[in-house]
Structure formats: C-alpha cells, structure tokens
C-alpha cells in the first residue's frame, strides 16, 4: 500500500480550502434557513422593542434559549443515531426538581441521582438497540416515569437550588452577554463530539446504516449506549442551567421541549432518518424557536393563543425548510 510519501502516478491532491468550504456550504445548506429565520426574528423584535439590541436586552432575550440549545444538542445526538427522545421535557423538569430539592439538602445523593439518569439513558440505548424497539414509544413511556418521579419529589413548583448553581445563573460578564458564551460553549462541545471525533463518525454511521457499522466490527449496542449517555449528560446540564435561572424546581417547566428540540434540530438541517448532525444549525434553530417565545410575549398575545402561535410557527418554519430544500435541489 502506498503511503502519503510515495504517491502513485497521476495522484490527485486533496481538496483545497476553497473546495472544503464550498462542500461544507452545500452539505450544510439545510441549516442556512435557521440562520435566516433567526436574523428575521431578531430584526422583528428590534423593531417592536429597540431595547433588545442592548447588552441587557440580548441577555434577557437569550437566557431562556440556553437550556433549549443544550437540550437541542442532546436531541440532535439522539436523532443522529436515528432515534427520537420524546421525554426531554419531563426529564429537564425532573432535573430542576432534583436541583431544587435533593441537590441542596444532600448534594451527594443529588449527584448520584443525576448519575443514575445517565445510567438509565445508557440502559435505554441498550434496550432500544438489543430489542429493536422504537425509541418514540420507549421515551414516551419514560417521560411519564420522569414526570411521576418529579411529582413524587416535589408535587408543587418550589424548592431552592444550591448557592453555587444560582451563582452560575447570576453570572454576568462585562463584555459579552453570558447566554452567548454558554450557547457557544455548548455548540462547540457538541460539534467536537458529533462532527470531529471518530466516535461522532460511528454515531452518524449508526443512524445512517447500522448494518455497515456492524459488518466493520463495531458494537452497535455500545455505540447507541454511548450516544444516549452523552445525550443524557447534555440534558442534565440543560436542566441544571434551567434551574440556575429560575432558582427553583418545577417538573412542568419544560413542558413543550420535546417539540421544540425536535423542531430545532430539523430546522437546523437534521433529519428524522438519522445519520446527520449539524450542531451549529441546531443551535441556531434552538435560538430561533427560543426567540419566538420572547417575541410572542413582546406582542402581548393572549395567553390562550400562545401555544397555538408556537405550533403554527413551528409548522411554518419547517414548511419553509422543506420549500428551501426543494429550491436548492432544483
């Protein structure tokens, strides 16, 4: 076999930077829509309320988006292996409850419970791979388990998060809005995991064509378990960030996160079949959907309209994605 030093005759060079950027743009083009949508919403918000473009305004607007971005990256990893997690909302609620109760009173037990969630997620990955059962049903069932656990721990919203956690929520650097920093860190971490590491390649191979991964001697079970465990860690971080912002626990605090995260991943260029992961696109998708909620409160929509507006906007945005994809293809 030839090595890089002695190339065969007529060997072509590896693609240059320009080709790489062009290929990246073409392959990542489904994610472009999420960026366009985000800019449009920021402009709209700025027109309605010019204050949003100040440092404080950006911080306020994006605060709610931080847990959503983290949860979206988790959902992206699950969707990259071809699954869907319908339990993210309830799990985030449970994490805020744990943070506001057990983590304050007995930190060791609280951390053990959080670690237990990671183990359960790995177990879910094991079951889903070994038994070949659909993740939708399993995670739908688990969402009720998370909800039940949260209700048992804290039947009504309340509690108090530990000092250190609240401190994170109060962190305000001078030069740059804190949520932007957190969002950027979360996105880079997810990007390194899903796109740059060899594990990430296996992850996407599992979603794309599991038979191939197995033929090449990799363990499908271990890959899926690892994917679920990584997703669980990101979800727990999302829940902790959420708790740090509200400084209390509420099992229903992330009620529609399942829809929002899935929509954000799709908006950011992901697909349901699995095999794809666009962390940057997913982050923009999550920010867009987070900002929509802010925008709805800015225009003071009646509360009973709120969820309908969210549903319609998700539909509209996804429809836009479909239309742009067709446009690109033709």
């Amino acid at each position: 076999m030839t090595t890089a030093l002695e190339r065969p005759r007529g060997a072509s060079a590896l693609p240059g930077a320009a080709t790489r950027i062009r290929t990246g743009a073409v392959q990542g083009s489904p994610a472009v829509l999420s960026i366009v949508a985000m800019i449009a919403i920021v402009i709209l918000a700025a027109v309605i309320q010019p204050g949003v473009l100040s440092m404080n305004g950006i911080t306020l607007m994006l605060t709610a988006a931080v847990p959503l971005v983290l949860a979206t990256q988790a959902q992206m990893i699950i969707m990259a292996v071809g699954d869907i997690d319908l339990g993210v909302g309830a799990l985030l609620g449970l994490v805020t409850v744990i943070a506001a109760t057990v983590l304050t009173t007995s930190p060791a037990l609280g951390l053990a419970m959080l670690a237990g969630i990671v183990v359960v997620y790995a177990l879910l990955g094991f079951i889903i791979q070994r038994r070949g059962v659909p993740s939708i049903i399993i995670t739908l069932g688990m969402s009720f388990v998370w909800l039940g656990l949260g209700l048992e721990l804290l039947p009504t919203p309340g509690g108090q998060t530990p000092e250190w956690l609240s401190a994170i929520g109060q962190w305000r650097p001078e030069l740059i809005p804190a949520p932007l920093v957190l969002i950027a860190v979360a996105t880079v971490v997810a990007w390194l995991i899903a796109r740059r590491s060899r594990f990430g390649t296996r992850l996407r191979a599992l979603g794309s064509q599991p038979a191939t991964l197995e033929k090449l001697g990799w363990s499908l079970v271990r890959t899926r378990m690892a994917a679920y465990a990584v997703a669980a860690v990101l979800l727990i971080l999302a829940g902790l960030v959420m708790a740090s912002q509200t400084r209390s626990g509420d099992v229903n605090s992330a009620g529609n996160f399942a829809l929002m995260t899935i929509a954000a991943v799709i908006l950011g260029g992901g697909n349901f079949a699995g095999g794809r992961a666009f962390p940057v696109g997913a982050a923009f998708g999550a920010i867009t959907l987070g900002l929509i909620t802010v925008l709805l409160s800015l225009v003071s929509l009646p509360s009973s309209f709120q969820s309908a507006a969210q549903g319609l906007i998700v539909l509209a945005v996804l429809a836009g994605r479909v239309i742009t994809e067709r446009f690109i293809r033709s």
Partner: protein, 351 residues
C-alpha cells in the same frame, strides 16, 4: 433487529411451534386482564362481574381513541398521532357547545368534525409540507389546546340530557356504548382484511416504498388514516362530554393510554400488522389496572411511574415474543444478507 443474527436457533419442538403459531397476538393482554381482574376482586372482595362491568363503561372511549392510534401506528415507522389527547378535550367542548344549541346529534357531529378539522391540519402538514408525523401532530396538539382554551372560555353549559342517558344506557347489563364500539371494531377488522384501503394501510406500514412502487395510493391512504384517527378521537371526546363532563384536561391521559393499549394489544409497533381485537383486551387490562392502582391508594406520581414503566416493559417483552424489529425494512435487509435470521424469525423453510 437481532444483534447476534449469525447464530441460528435450533429448530423447536413441533408442538411448541404449533402453540406459537396458534397463540394470538392479543393473548398476553388477555392473560394480563385476567390477572388484574383477579387482583381487583382479591383487594375489593366484591363479585367478579362488578369490576368488569364497571370497566366496560370506561373501555369504549379508550378503544375508540386507540383504534385510531392503531391504524396510524400501522402506517409504519415514525407514524404516531400525539394529538389524540388534546383532540378529545377540544371535541368535548365542541359537543357540549353545539349540543346545547342544536341537539345531541348535532353535538356529536360537531365533536367528530372538530377531530376531523384537527386531523386535517396534521394531514396538510404531513402531506403538503412533508413534515414528519410526530412534529405535525405535536404542533397540531398545540393549536388544538389553544382552541380548547378558547372554547372553554366561551361555554359553560353541560351536556344535553338525551346524550347523557344515551351514554349511560345498558343492553342486557352491558353498556350500549360498549356494544356499539364492538360493532365498530368488527367493521375495522373487515376493512383491514377485505378492502383495498385496509390492505393498502397494512402494505404501506410494512414497506412504504414498495407500496408506492406497487401502485398503491400511499399518500391518500396516509391522509385518510390520520383523518380516521382524528374523527374517532373527536367522537370519543363528544361522548365523554356527556359521560363525565368537558374539561381542558379530559383527554390528557389518552395519549399515553392509547399508545400503551395498542402496544399491549399486540399491534406491531413498527407498523404493518394491526390487531384490532388486542385493542379491546389491552384497554380492559389498562382500565382495570388503573382501578386497581386507585384501589391501592397510589399517588398520581406513582401511577405515572408505573404506567410509564409498564409501557416500556410491554414494548420490550413483546418485541422479544414476536421477534420483531425496529423497522420491517431493516429487518428484511438483515434477513436477506444473513440467511440465518430468515429461518429464525419465520420458523419456516422449505429448503
């Protein structure tokens, strides 16, 4: 998907195989129903028929919703209607509001219409905008819950008396609604086995690409199936408005319950194999189990945990019992590349 498909299982004893082929897909849910029934009688100490008759008053509504859910799930991987819960709530208000003005029949029609309208929203999203069903029905359920809140604000009346006496009527001790829903179930069985629409639903669920290539109208079939699910959820909501009373959380439990009942009843979760009879046994099991948990005085949280775990458990166990995979297409691929799985899954080779 079998993770170790290279190891072919030794051929089983013929008697064992015959029992396997004769054992119906809904068999285990029937066993579960009987076990829970015995437990209920043991705890409450009443007559054996009393809990059963009580369950039969609640079961028809769950069966209505679950049959729609079953048809949707049969359409294949990724198909699920998560808007059934909110549909039931919205339809209950629609039934009462129209029923108070134009009579109970019109009220029921309005309930079905409301379900159909919600389903139409999902269908447009799925077929025209090509949004995956989970997202489409999730978004629909958000829209529907807003609509429910608005209907709830506008209307304070109760269900008409005629409708109330209708849902509480009994034929030879059996609730009339149960009889009517049983007839509907038989109709669904016939449709699935003997009509082009039914066969197309099942074919689409097994392999939607092949169904399209065989000239079946898969898109129409998909749309009609979601509409049926919406209509049945609407009907259930309209009847529940009279049986209980309209409320914004009336249908909340019907999402997980309907999926659970379908799965417990033996319907293939990957699609392509509906089991309408199993919806009945599954629903009976589930309703009796809820009664038992209430009887034992469990909290709401604990009941949620148990129900959730039950769904997970049943899905896992049934996947082992039927040897079914994630999706029929992938399973098929595996069976073609590795002849061992063919013999394993099908217990049938002719050389």
């Amino acid at each position: 998907m079998t993770s170790a498909p290279t190891i072919a299982t030794p051929t089983q004893h013929p008697a064992v195989e015959r029992i396997r082929t004769l054992w119906p897909a809904w068999g285990w849910s029937l066993v579960g129903t009987l076990v829970v029934l015995v437990a209920v009688i043991g705890v409450s100490g009443g007559s054996p028929l009393q809990p059963l008759s009580q369950a039969l008053t609640l079961v028809p509504y769950l069966v209505l919703v679950a049959i729609g859910q079953m048809l949707v799930i049969t359409l294949g991987p990724g198909n699920i209607d998560v808007s059934v819960g909110t549909n039931v709530s919205m339809a209950s208000y629609a039934s009462v509001a129209v029923g108070a003005a134009a009579g109970p029949g019109a009220g029921l029609a309005a309930a079905v219409g409301a379900g159909l309208a919600a389903a139409a929203c999902s269908v447009i999203a799925i077929l025209v905008l090509r949004i995956p069903p989970i997202i489409a029905t999730l978004a629909t359920s958000l829209i529907v819950s807003s609509a429910t809140l608005m209907l709830a604000d506008a209307n304070r009346s109760g269900a008409p008396a005629e409708l109330r006496s209708f849902v509480n009527a009994r034929v030879l001790g059996v609730p009339l609604t149960a009889v009517l829903v049983a007839i509907l179930t038989v109709a669904v069985v016939i449709v699935l086995r003997r009509t082009r629409f039914g066969l197309a639903v099942v074919a689409t669920g097994q392999n939607s690409v092949a169904a399209a290539k065989a000239g079946l109208p898969t898109r129409t079939v998909t749309g009609v199936t979601y509409l049926i699910s919406g209509a049945l959820a609407g009907l259930a909501g309209g009847l529940l408005a009279a049986f209980i009373s309209p409320s914004t959380s009336l249908g909340t439990s019907y999402l997980l319950d309907s999926v659970a009942v379908v799965v417990i009843g033996g319907t293939l979760i990957a699609g392509g194999r509906p089991v309408p009879v199993g919806v009945w046994t599954g629903a009976l099991f589930f309703v009796l189990l809820s009664g038992l948990l209430n009887l034992l005085g469990l909290s709401v949280g604990a009941q949620n945990i148990l129900k959730g775990l039950l769904v997970v458990l049943v899905v896992v166990i049934s996947s082992a019992a039927t040897g079914t995979g994630r999706s029929t297409v992938r399973r098929l691929r595996a069976s073609l590349t590795l002849p061992g799985t063919t013999t394993k899954q099908r217990n049938n080779t002719d050389g």
